[in-house]
């Protein structure tokens, strides 16, 4: 893989929200730390982009333990968005990321509109950031905890607030815990999102039956991993058909074939999450597998696969 994404005459390069990527593969926020954690295991320069752990204004300590548990073909997590905070990110994490030959996207969140806006403007000031990903799956503490991402109006407000403080490309990450994800998708588009990523985790729960206790201290957690892929593919397909901005597919991807489901459904790029834990080399394997698929199928530009689903 060279830096243009072209090998064997096959181009894997894509562009999402104005961010040019060597290939459509990037980590999902929160599953790849700040990039450096995985540097010993995978060549970060081979990735389409890097997405950081979600950042907040102040450092956040996260939830009590246990925070994770394995489920059938998935896992639940309630990390509680533990992160170093946007300032420490700039000071301690950016120096490493800045040296990479891969676009960096900072994922972030807030608990109030003001927080969202403030983090956005601090991130906007980092020249080496290619773009940001706004996580709207957080409760709005001022509105009695209603989650920004489950109400079209609240989503519109959050995205608008951020948009005003940001000149960089803005990706908005949607939660699947809604009746109609296209309502939220359209609200985010109307408020100025340049792209959407979906899905975040599905809320779930697991119980230790001998001890009659929840398996994670927070009671509920977010379900991720192969188990959720069919739900993610469906939502990506719905959103692609509801908006005219690009969509990034996330949820249960661990192989090239999994990634292709999303691309064919219409995603312009995809994120690999939980699979990084299982195999730190997973994204490289997905990239290599995409190239092999294109070779076998006589596809010379991966973009021609995007949205190629034939529906009767």
């Amino acid at each position: 893989m060279n830096s243009t994404g072209s090998k064997n005459g096959i181009s894997l390069a894509v562009e999402v929200a104005g961010i040019r990527m060597k290939n459509p593969i990037m980590p999902a926020s929160g599953t790849f730390g700040y990039g450096e954690e995985y540097a010993p295991y995978i060549d970060l320069d081979n990735l389409g982009a890097i997405v950081t752990k979600g950042l907040s204004l102040a450092p956040k300590a996260g939830n009590p333990t246990p925070r994770i548990t394995e489920t059938v073909s998935g896992m639940l997590n309630a990390i509680g968005l533990q992160n170093v905070g946007v300032d420490a990110f700039i000071e301690h994490k950016m120096p490493f990321l800045r040296e990479l030959n891969t676009p960096v996207i900072a994922n972030f969140f807030g608990n109030t509109l003001e927080e969202y806006g403030e983090v956005a403007s601090r991130l906007d000031a980092i020249p080496e950031l290619a773009g940001v990903e706004l996580n709207i799956s957080c409760p709005n503490v001022k509105k009695g905890g209603i989650v920004f991402g489950t109400d079209p109006k609240a989503a519109f407000e959050a995205v608008s607030t951020v948009r005003k403080r940001l000149s960089k490309p803005l990706i908005v990450k949607l939660t699947p815990n809604v009746t109609d994800i296209t309502d939220i998708a359209r609200a985010a588009e109307d408020a100025g999102a340049d792209a959407l990523s979906c899905i975040n985790t599905i809320t779930g729960m697991a119980i230790d039956v001998r001890r009659r206790r929840p398996r994670i201290a927070n009671l509920t957690g977010g379900l991720s991993g192969p188990a959720i892929r069919p739900v993610a593919v469906r939502m990506v397909y719905q959103v692609v058909n509801a908006v005219s901005i690009p969509v990034i597919g996330v949820g249960g991807i661990s192989t090239a074939e999994d990634a292709l489901e999303f691309l064919i459904a219409g995603a312009s790029a995809v994120q690999v999450g939980t699979a990084n834990f299982v195999d730190p080399d997973a994204m490289q394997k997905v990239i290599d597998g995409l190239e092999r698929f294109c070779l076998e199928e006589g596809v010379d530009d991966i973009r021609s696969l995007i949205g190629s689903l034939e529906v009767a």
Binding site: G30, T31, F32, G33, E37, Y38, P40, Y41, K53, A61, G62, P64, T65, P66, R67, I68, T69, E70, V72, S73, G74, M75, N77, I79, Q82, D208, R211, R213, R215, A217, G225, P226, S254, T274, N276, F277, V278, D279, P280, D281
Partner: protein, 284 residues
């Protein structure tokens, strides 16, 4: 040897429910430090999904099967069957392919040379102490206090003895060694010796008792912790433990996989350590 596909050299039951797996691992002898661990991928398919963490018991070389070829470098893990993943591991055979991520984490530091060293192991918690003992016996008097519920939980003792470690055994049911808790033995030894560095690994209630005793005798203590882990490399933040000074207002979490699994006792918040909080087998 960061993440590598390799082969099982041997996989045997050494006591009821306890198994030893020897895995081909080029570079292991130089790379693995006492107290480090690895993430073991049980199956290349995704069931179970997550890798399982295991301490590295020891490393070494064995003669090659094939005449004239150089010896084969290996590492060994000792594991107890507690659930689906470990049960599946026990069904693997010599020659089966496995995937290993490691060595990972921070291990033990040896402490002042010349001071007596006391290792305290509870059941399978003995695992990370063996390579430590190998290092320590060169320059120190080393004792291993080993505890378990019953004689079946006392494993690999003779291997420590062969190193020249003095071993003391306590079982709760008295089926091997003294009847009682290994922490009583620790207290007696500390009283007898006065000064010593203590290194402990085992179930949380044992570690909590060890911490109290060491604090009382002002003995420097290092403990190796277990935690539920997804990534093993500091990325998921699933494996944290409460650090000293932790409170609701000023939460301080440490990553067991990256900042541990071995911690100096002072790094941790022992008051807030909840013996039942973790669903780890070792902490029940």
């Amino acid at each position: 040897m960061p993440n590598f596909k390799t082969r099982i050299l041997a996989n045997q039951e050494i006591a009821p429910g306890y198994w030893r797996m020897r895995i081909q691992a080029p570079g292991a002898v130089a790379d693995c430090k006492p107290g480090q661990f690895l993430m073991f991928r049980v199956q290349l398919s995704l069931l179970p999904l997550l890798r399982r963490p295991f301490g590295i018991f020891r490393t070494g070389f064995q003669p090659s099967d094939v005449d004239g070829l150089p010896p084969v470098e290996y590492l060994e893990i000792l594991y107890k069957i507690v659930g689906q993943g470990t049960a599946m591991m026990s069904e693997l055979h010599q020659g089966d392919r496995v995937e290993i991520l490691g060595p990972l984490g921070r291990g033990f530091s040896a402490g002042a040379t010349g001071r007596e060293k006391i290792l305290v192991g509870g059941g399978i918690g003995l695992v990370p102490l063996f390579m430590l003992a190998q290092d320590l016996v060169e320059k120190n008097r080393v004792r291993l206090l080993m505890g378990g519920r019953t004689r079946d939980d006392i494993i690999a003792i003779t291997e420590f003895e062969r190193l020249g470690v003095e071993t003391y055994t306590a079982t709760e049911d008295g089926s091997l060694g003294e009847q009682g808790l290994v922490t009583d033995v620790l207290e007696a030894k500390l009283k007898e010796i006065g000064e010593a560095d203590v290194f402990a690994c085992g179930p949380m209630p044992m570690l909590q008792a060890v911490q109290k005793i060491c604090a009382r005798y002002e003995a420097p203590l290092q403990v190796s912790l277990e935690a539920l882990m997804a990534c093993g490399v500091g990325a998921c933040l699933g494996c944290v433990v409460k650090g000293a000074g932790h409170s609701e207002q000023t939460p301080r979490y440490l990553c067991t996989c990256k900042e541990g699994p071995v911690f100096r006792a002072e790094q941790l918040d022992w008051d807030l350590m909840d013996a039942t909080e973790s669903s780890c087998e070792g902490c029940k």
